[in-house]
Amino acid sequence: MTDAAREPAYAPPQLRPAATFFGAPVADIESLGPDSIAAVGVYCDHFSAGRPGGRFGARQLRYISAISDLSVPQTLVDLGDFNVFPLEPERTVDTLSDQSQRIAATGAKLFAIGGDYSVTPAIVRGAAQEVGSGSLAVVRISRRLDSLPKGTNRSGDPWRCGATNEIAEILSGGLSAIALLGGHGTVATEELEQASEAVVVPASRLISAPGESAHKVRKELEDVADRFYLSVDADVLAPRFGSRALPGTHGGLSVAHLLTVLAELVGMPFIGAELTGHVPDLDVPGRAITSQIASVAAKVLDCLAGKT
């Protein structure tokens, strides 16, 4: 207790609302416009077979925002969470698509945070329904290709390993409108063959030349589409940089590599983005891994804002 603390007070600071993404104001859909970037949490990790915890990704990022000094676009608002129904997969998928579409219809850019790879096709579908699938391409940054057709899925689980194919079915350009960046680890031959029409850049190439590789992907995709969706899965990171939902493999990107890749994509006309796959420690906000994921989230926001 210092003497200074016992002196008369001065003008009070602006109170900070409890836990929003990067301190952004809380809003609902009525207040969105073409300049808005709407961050929405996804409390959903129930439809993969991985380790649960991605459902807490959004909350943890809200918490760390309180002590983060990352700079984010002024037009960012926190729209709360999507409706999800953890034990009803079809209903959840339909709702995610519907609510993503409604956000896209306002002209705002959607940033979905949290959950795992099983939510990506639903959100892309919603965005595509609004902007038209003909002119949309997807940049997907993930350790996995997820291009195994459902029929050959050994586990029999309809929600696993087919996310890329589901996205391809949504886009007029099919797999050729999808870039898969960051794949590493053992991949089934048929999965690699299935993905051959997509733009595939393995993690090793992103590590050796992140900026150059990302630039090349950008050029290829800009030939096939004029609007883009960015899907970032935290499992692309090497184990020491991220905690994962699926059993980890060695290898992967560092946060610095990923940020360089994302920086190279800034300026592409993204209509939406997501950040999935982060399985956070639940205790103390400010843990190292969530801090790093927050940096990734801030760079994704730069991509959405078109900020250089």
């Binding site: 207790m1 210092t2 200074a4 603390a5 016992r6 002196e7 007070a9 001065y10 003008a11 009070p12 600071p13 602006q14 109170l15 900070r16 609302p17 409890a18 836990a19 809380v26 609902d28 859909i29 009525e30 929405v40 949490g41 409390y43 459902r55 807490f56 959004a58 909350r59 809200r62 918490y63 309180a66 002590i67 729209l79 709360g80 969470d81 999507f82 409706n83 999800v84 129904f85 953890p86 709702t95 609510q99 409604r102 956000i103 639940l282 205790d283 103390v284 906000p285």
Partner: protein, 330 residues
């Protein structure tokens, strides 16, 4: 049409205290009970973590957001089979957020707390200030005064080792109450300490009580008859004109949880604290300051035992403050 058209899973979405609605300071009025966080701590030792308590308490409290969840009919206290009417809670209980204190030097943080509470006082709303450690108590109470000493009740927390002006105080006694007394923000005759922790000298006890202060031991609190605490609180309000309460979670018996920043022997059970805070809540308390909860201790994941205990105890205060437990009164 709002984005969402169905309830969210319990741990999802906007984690305001008890899922209450958000509000700004400017929107408050005398009917409101406002929740405000002060995520700061003085302690830079190995057990730091009380600054996370506002967040952790909000997270835990969503379990009790009955009034904000349309799927529940109405709550009933199973022990007394009395229904609890929460119909006014949505309008009156609000979460106004946190004072942004991260990274501030201690002196600036204290000034920020003080001036925020001064502004809060202008609205006539009652408030619960979620700390942090007890370094927030002095600036909060200082901000709540209008030049005259205010009524003050301390539950748990450190016993002052000395009276203001004594040799011990000059040596650097760290209890916030010592400084509040020294600077005349509170007066001895309108101050009560209930279940204080640590040791103090006989001289202090004699001086304190001689000057009109009330000292309740933990066993005394436990043995109190229904209405005793409420009467004490009402007398302090009538004499001082206002009442401010500091509840430190060290008031709990440490065997119940491991989350107190300064665990001590003795202490109160949950029923004791529910009774005490419930009765205090029935008095017109201006500010309840909650300190000393370190959610980073003792276990993993969210909603740990100590958090649940603290929120359960706070609920008794909230229902008392909002007059929701009238059916239960003798």
């Amino acid at each position: 049409m709002p984005l969402r058209n169905a309830p969210l899973p319990r741990m999802a979405g906007d984690l305001t205290f008890m899922r209450s609605r958000r509000a700004t300071l400017g929107e408050l009025n005398a009917e409101n009970l406002a929740i405000l966080g002060a995520p700061i701590e003085d302690n830079i030792g190995r057990k730091s973590g009380t600054r996370f308590a506002p967040t952790a308490l909000r997270e835990t409290s969503v379990y009790f957001g009955w009034h904000a969840n349309p799927q529940f009919s109405h709550p009933v206290d199973i022990d007394v089979r009395v229904p609890i009417d929460t119909s006014e809670m949505h309008e009156r209980l609000v979460d106004i957020g946190d004072i942004p204190l991260e990274g501030m030097p201690a002196a600036s943080a204290a000034q920020a707390i003080r001036s925020t509470i001064q502004e809060l006082r202008q609205t006539n709303a009652s408030a619960i200030l979620l700390g942090g450690d007890d370094s927030i108590v002095y600036p909060a109470v200082a901000g709540a005064t209008d030049g005259e000493p205010v009524g003050f009740v301390q539950i748990g927390g450190r016993l002052p080792g000395a009276m203001p002006g004594d040799e011990g105080a000059r040596r650097g006694d760290c209890s916030p109450l010592t400084y509040l007394l020294a600077d005349n923000y509170v007066a001895l005759r309108t101050t009560a300490i209930m279940a204080g922790t640590g040791r103090t000298g006989l001289e202090f006890v004699q001086s304190f009580e001689r000057a009109g202060g009330q000292l309740w031991s933990a066993s005394g609190v436990s043995r109190a008859q229904p209405g005793d605490v409420e009467r004490m609180a009402q007398v302090i309000v009538e004499t001082a004109g206002s009442l401010h309460v500091h509840f430190d979670v060290s008031a709990f018996r440490p065997s119940l949880h491991g989350m107190s920043e300064r665990p001590a022997f003795g202490g109160l059970t949950l029923p004791d604290l529910q009774k005490t805070l419930g009765e205090i809540g029935r008095a017109p308390v201006s500010l309840l300051i909650v300190t000393g909860l370190n959610p980073t201790l003792s276990g993993l994941s969210v909603v740990k035992t100590g958090l649940r205990l603290t929120v359960t105890a706070l609920l008794a205060y909230i229902y008392g403050r909002l007059d929701l437990d009238a059916a239960r009164r003798p």
